[in-house]
Symmetry: C2
Subunit: 229 residues, 2 copies
């Protein structure tokens, strides 16, 4: 029962108290209406500024494309994102040319993250999208693009095989701590869409200011081929 129904069904209070409870309830309803109006106005402000920021984000995307390996560098330097990056996946992300994060127009109902790729040895897709539907109607859900892997380059499959073999690190000499996650297993995972930590980090931390992660050098700096340091 919500308080409003409870108040009107209650028979256990004396008439004075019963009357006061009904007055509190109607006062509370007025407060609720003001709360709703406040939320609506705040939403409008957020929508307005989302629109105003958009040209800046588009401009930023174009500039970023002039810097080789901008996104893979920012990802490798980010503590939570780098934690899920397999070595081969990092190689693959050298082909990532553009990132886009779009909140749905009503903001509350969800968002999508788009990864734009150059022609690459791994898959046929130009764009990989992971999309989150978090609206109040229905259960939270996420979807992502079917990846059209090229023969012999299915990184998700390879990761799963390595997991089954009980070891994660690839053939190279580099050691990384064992982690049961990988970038593409995150991308394809829809187990808990309302608590997708990696998606939230991309949306709320990487996207608002990627420059800080591009610039902060990892202890092990690498933008190229080898591990010769």
């Amino acid at each position: 029962l919500d308080p409003s129904e409870q108040v009107h069904e209650a028979r256990e209070y004396d008439p004075e108290t019963q009357k006061a409870l009904e007055e509190i309830d109607s006062c509370q309803n007025e407060i609720d209406q003001l709360n709703e109006k406040a939320s609506e106005e705040i939403l409008k402000v957020e929508q307005k500024y989302n629109k105003l920021r958009k040209p800046n984000f588009e401009n930023r995307s174009k500039i970023i494309q002039r810097i080789p390996n901008f996104w893979v560098t920012a990802f490798v330097n980010h503590p939570q994102i780098s934690a899920i990056l397999e070595e081969e996946e990092e190689e693959c992300l050298h082909y990532l040319t553009k990132l886009d994060v779009e909140e749905f127009d009503d903001i509350k109902s969800g968002y999508r993250i788009k990864f734009f790729f150059d022609e690459n040895p791994y898959f046929e897709n130009d764009v990989l999208t992971k999309e989150f539907h978090l609206g109040s109607t229905g259960d939270p859900a996420s979807h992502s693009t079917d990846i059209k892997w090229k023969d012999g380059h299915n990184l998700l499959e390879r990761f799963r095989q390595r997991m089954q073999q009980g070891e994660k690190s690839g053939g190279s000499g580099r050691k990384r701590p064992l982690d049961l996650r990988s970038f593409f297993s995150w991308f394809c995972d829809h187990g808990d869409p309302s608590a997708d930590e990696i998606a939230e980090v991309i949306k709320d931390d990487m996207w608002p200011n990627p420059l800080q992660y591009f610039l902060v050098p990892d202890i092990e700096v690498e933008n190229g081929e080898g591990d010769d340091d």
Copy 2:
């Protein structure tokens, strides 16, 4: 170093990349300015609705005063607040006639919780206030009214003595789980003002809708003197 300074001090990038980084930085500054403007507008909406809600809250307070033991009942029915209520403190809260929660005008910098009491056997004060200063300048801090305890009725002192004796429950037959907190030790505690769980529960859960807690009966309902059930 903030990214902006880092960009302009960097000498390790080729001239093309360096130029692009500076352009991203200035683009990022425009985004930051829009973010600040958005925050200011949202703050204004919140301030406007705080003002609009105020007469409703004042009206609610007056109606609540017509219901005996409204606040102590709501507190006893609230899972987190009741967890810190000692038996004697609950008796004392029968004299609580009015609760007020006020956000400071700029909202972000803090809030105060006021407890208004009738003439009572425990202390001389009419109002006990706990106030939180959480602004961005200076460390978070809280203050509270000095309680002028009446002789032999210092509930905080008694609680501390019981704690030293290693048992919390009072003389009565009622058993409560051992808890190292009490209402007045919470009121006088300023150890971690930015993470005061009880204060936040009062501000964000009890204050917005106390009726729901007044109406939900505890397993062990009691509004009066004895524990004769």
